[in-house]
Symmetry: C2
Subunit: 703 residues, 2 copies
């Protein structure tokens, strides 16, 4: 069922419509009337004959017909009864403005559950509770207390914070930004961000989906749906509560900041969602996405009538990782030979047209750079000098944009306020988004580019490796039966081997002589490790000895461990000592998987070693991974250059690491029981060698 | 001589005053008249009897008295002659609006030199050329074509970009920001950023100094002056042309981005200058500095009437490294027992007063948290709900601020536009700076805190070590005499030893037996290095062998080097082979100094090793260093935790590294001849051990 009844109802009943200004029930009805809603309005008020000039009904039933949309502006305690009335009447869409539900404690949460039950049974949908309502400017529908309707437009906005939505509506009216829909989703008892994103995705009036979220209900579904919809329309999200303190304030999941932030970041990236750091950025981005085509690449041409702004834009372009376009020979020739630009201070990028540039100089320069195949986006900057033709220049830009054949995005930043006000209006009406600083314009170009790159990414093909799934099933079943959440090194390695990983050569010895034999076969140096299902943290009990170099040393280490460890952990059953090949060459990296409570299995990659641990140079990405995604995870670490080999030093087999990540991703995907895996270290050698999973840790979900 | 004649002249002559609208000579005079300048105005125009209703003079002489300030709005070529006339008349202050000087090429540069000469001889000061003039709103003086005067206020602004200044004036009028002075410094032929900063520093009407710069003329003087003035007034600088591409656009110094950016960053930091990333930030910061006291610490209390904004502020506080204040027990008690806050959703920080909060609830909460000794700054957020008393709440905040005894800064962010417009006006008039987003308010608090910390830093005492200065003088003199810019390892180490550094034990051998003897004395392993004043890059010719473990190996390596290296570099004079102790324990770091062409000696510290090289985890700071500054350099690296020792691993002697930096800083300060020093690696062991300068590289300035 779509949300059409909310967005385009033929009739609206307002239960709690009031005659008393400043009451919510008054403001909502007044807003609906002021907006010019053309459908039928049924105020419901048991104590008044008439409300704001309209006939009032004592209750829903007495209306005598079923309103398509019902608003409940009453105390929480009356809501269940009214919901039942709605159900009985066959109402299908209800907006519950009232607060006092889940957000107010356990009692409120129960109340909320009861109304969800009623709605489910009656196949009725709810927006709210604890929300400020809904606006559809194009249909003159304002059932909210968020203020007057903004202009109609193509941005669909939803917000988990009602008051923020009210502020946004106020700012939008001032900045003349147009919206298709504005929805306050409140407690998301029924209609949540996913339902809204889906509805806006299907809505022909919406070109850009934007929203403010504090929590995400179903992470897994979010990824899948958002990814699908992002292919059609950009989704711009402002996610608050990222930091630990912020999350606590939003009373959502708390954890290490880096983790929480990384999880959202990688999920947004996978799904093509554009993350906005502030409402300002979101507005800035949304306007460009609404009106401008996507750039084909990162190369920006800058046109200015003063050095200062051009330099600021150039700094920003380099900081954001975009490129200052290198003009083609033909462009350079055309610019240098032109009459209009004969006085320009610089005809290379950024072009400085000088302070006395009139609109013709701008028009010629803009037209010329847009024709250059080396230019993907044009940024036009203007500082208002005494003789500057602000408005005419704006008209010239709009003119060029309208004739801009193979469409390239054009953004403008006219610095100033009163002196450029008229020009900014011309730009807006001509669908050239105006920015208040070179930096915000460049940030917007970056957002356009990222989305364009995401959209044209190759199809996702997840490779399936040949693995021994049964073996893993058996090991996991045994652990589940025995209620063991932690999988020891032994069996963790068996599982990894079943999925194609190579573990170090070696074996378990029960006598010193046997240990020496194994070591002699492998070759020195070797590692000795205590072998016990009861000892998970071997190092802590002195159960790991590396760099063992001779037969005699193997025998000594064996005896010492067998003597000392049972004293430390008397109850542990010790099966022997594992003698293993020691990897002395190659680079140590970490492969991991952590099943996030919201987003499912997140794959992890990081460089090994203490330094990098301090630097927290790790990357996350949701499973299942494609080959390209696995490779991108590596590329995204700051230490990637070290893997490739720096300063003539030979690099390691990067492809083998990527394959390891893919195999681990397959394991995580096929066994939802596994909560956490850590292969640390995963030792990888030069091109063509087989990397070795030296140590492994695995935890299962507790049931 | 001060710049008083520019800022407060009793009479102004405008050479080139015009009757023709849109000409600069018209706009400047019109602006001066419109601003209501009370002094005498002498338009100079050889072809008109009268200009804009004022009697016009054919030339300066004929005025019959000496104007205190002269504006030259004529073509560049006429400027020298007019300057001479000014000199003859005894004029002391000239603003040259004309362009066509240094910025236009070599001819223009010559012209600029000639006018500087005239000015110097006549003890006359120049602002410009190639500028848009000057504004002093408090004196109704507008000698510029930057538009109408903004409000008088306490921000002194200067800009190297005239057009940017015009845009700023336009924005300031719109945002009702007041200024004491606005100066377009143009080509800075005479009055440069330093003269302006000094003048604004002494100006009683200026509380905050702000400016936009693309280049800094005299870096060394800049550091000293800016540091002195920053103690009195904050200096907020927007420096453009930071990135390589940006610098090229500003045609200033080009270099590696990290280097250029680090140089400015560390110099700004040393001098207490607050760097602004955008004009928006600069405006935001300037207003808080102009009207609010400095915070005593980083603890922020947040008061909001909705969850959303509070969460956004909390995220920003954590990101900026500030703290969310922990309210005292008394505050918590007071908040929880109050009538006003009985309905608040959260009385812990961030306080959520709920959407129906009226001004009394805000007033009580704000008053309470300001009284809490755990709170350093209060941030008040408001989202306009239907019933919100926006303007009254603004009045309440102003009222509390005026009674705010031991003054703490109060910042406000009222989200929205039209619905909060009146409130924002009330805040502005009450000197509570209003912000357009929680993020920009928090960024501003961070700037206030950083400046407060800088201002209260301990007095800078640079320790002077006992050193053997004469020895260094002798070595350097010899190099200068022989015109050798590069100082070899041998002598570089001698210099370092003279300044108290310890270098590895060892000696130079001329026979294999001698080498073996030295090695046997030191103990193994040792390092062998080719010893030649002609070979600076020893590794490249195979002239370094580490990990030499036995007498036999020493003899073999000796012979191999002696056989192979003369073949590779036949003309090098080889003095022998140096046998040195090899540092096998301890951590490798890099100490360095690079004499920056603008800012003098910049000290450098970084972790050793390839990984960190990739990460570019290095820190710069201008010499001479105090002990605290040296320590701060270490603390500021991302890898500092590794030095202190992580995960139970023993740390190294951090104090010994700091001392090494101070000694190197003393060397760089005492010998301006030294251009560059690199001690790499500087091997430092655990607490109490002596670090060793294992290898060193030194370059002298070319003469």
């Amino acid at each position: 069922m779509t949300l059409d009844r909310f967005f385009n109802p033929q009739s609206v009943a307002i239960v709690g419509a009031s005659r008393q200004p400043n009451k919510v029930g008054y403001e909502v009805l007044a807003g609906l009337l002021k907006g010019g809603y053309p459908g039928k309005i049924f105020p419901v008020n048991p104590t008044a004959e008439e409300v704001q000039g309209l006939k009032a009904w004592p209750d829903l039933k007495s209306i005598g017909q079923t309103p398509e949309l019902v608003l409940l502006i009453v105390s929480a305690k009356y809501v269940p009864k009214l919901m039942q009335e709605c159900a009985d009447l066959g109402v299908k869409a209800v907006i519950i403005i009232a607060s006092g539900f889940k957000e107010a404690g356990p009692q409120g949460a129960d109340l909320e559950k009861s109304i969800i039950r009623i709605a489910k049974n009656a196949n009725m949908r709810i927006i709210g509770p604890n929300c400020i309502g809904l606006m559809v400017p194009g249909h003159k529908l304002n059932v909210s207390f968020g203020g007057d309707l903004p202009m109609p437009g193509s941005i669909g906005y939803f917000s988990q914070s009602g008051s923020l939505l009210a502020a946004i509506v106020d700012m939008a009216r001032d900045a003349r930004v147009g919206f298709s829909k504005l929805i306050s989703i409140g407690n998301k008892a029924d209609v949540d961000e996913l339902a809204i994103i889906r509805a806006l995705g299907e809505d022909p009036e919406t070109r850009v989906i934007a929203g403010y979220l504090e929590t995400i209900a179903d992470g897994d579904a979010f990824i899948r749906q958002a990814e699908r919809i992002s292919m059609e329309k950009p989704i711009l999200l402002m996610k608050a509560g990222f930091t630990v303190a912020g999350a606590r304030a939003a009373s959502s999941h708390t954890g290490r900041m880096a983790e929480v932030e990384s999880a959202y970041e990688c999920v947004f990236e996978r799904a093509g969602v554009i993350r906005c750091e502030s409402i300002k950025d979101q507005f800035d981005f949304a306007r460009a996405f609404a009106y401008q085509p996507l750039p084909k690449g990162p190369r920006v041409a800058v046109i200015a009538n003063a050095g200062g702004a051009g330099i600021m834009a150039t700094d920003a372009i380099e900081r954001e990782g975009l490129e200052l376009a290198q003009f083609s020979d033909e462009t350079q020739k055309r610019l240098s030979q032109s009459q209009e630009l004969s006085r320009a201070a610089s005809i290379s990028n950024p072009i400085d047209l000088l302070g006395d540039a009139l609109s013709d100089r701008y028009e010629f320069a803009l037209r010329t750079v847009l024709n250059d195949p080396n230019v993907d986006t044009a940024l036009v900057l203007l500082s208002p000098h005494a003789m500057t033709e602000c408005a005419q220049t704006a008209h010239a830009i709009v003119r060029v944009a309208n004739q801009n054949g193979p469409a390239k995005p054009i953004l403008a930043c006219f610095l100033g306020a009163g002196r450029v006000a008229e020009a900014v209006k011309v730009l807006r009406e001509g669908k050239i988004p105006p920015y208040d600083s070179p930096e915000s314009a460049v940030r917007t170009i970056k957002a356009l580019c990222r989305y364009a790159v995401w959209k044209s990414r190759p199809a996702r093909v997840v490779k399936l490796f040949n693995v021994n799934r049964h073996k893993v099933e058996r090991i996991i079943e045994r652990h589940v039966r025995l209620q063991q959440a932690e999988v020891g090194e032994m069996e963790a390695k068996e599982i990894l081997e079943a999925y194609g990983f190579v573990t170090p050569e070696g074996g378990v010895a029960t006598t010193p002589e046997q240990a020496a034999n194994i070591a002699n076969q492998i070759g020195y140096p070797v590692v000795l490790k205590i072998w016990s299902p009861d000892i998970l943290h071997k190092t802590e009990v002195g159960g790991v000895k590396t760099h063992v170099n001779s037969e005699q040393e193997v025998i000594d280490v064996f005896d010492l461990m067998m003597y000392r460890i049972p004293k430390k952990v008397p109850r542990a059953s010790i099966l022997g000592i594992c003698v293993e090949q020691m990897c002395t060459s190659g680079r140590e990296v970490i492969l991991g998987m952590n099943r996030d409570s919201r987003f499912g299995p997140l794959m992890m990659f990081g460089m090994g070693g203490r330094l990098v641990e301090v630097l927290e140079d790790v990357v996350f990405y949701p499973a299942p991974l494609t080959a390209e995604e696995a490779r991108q995870m590596l590329v995204r670490t700051k230490t990637y250059d070290v893997l490739k080999g720096i300063r003539g030093e030979e690099g390691v087999d990067v492809g083998a690491i990527a394959e390891g990540l893919q195999r681990l991703s397959q394991l995580a995907t096929e066994f939802p029981h596994i909560k956490e895996i850590d292969i640390n270290p995963f030792v990888v050698g030069r091109e063509g060698t087989t990397p070795i999973a030296v140590d492994a840790m695995m935890t299962l979900e507790k049931r």
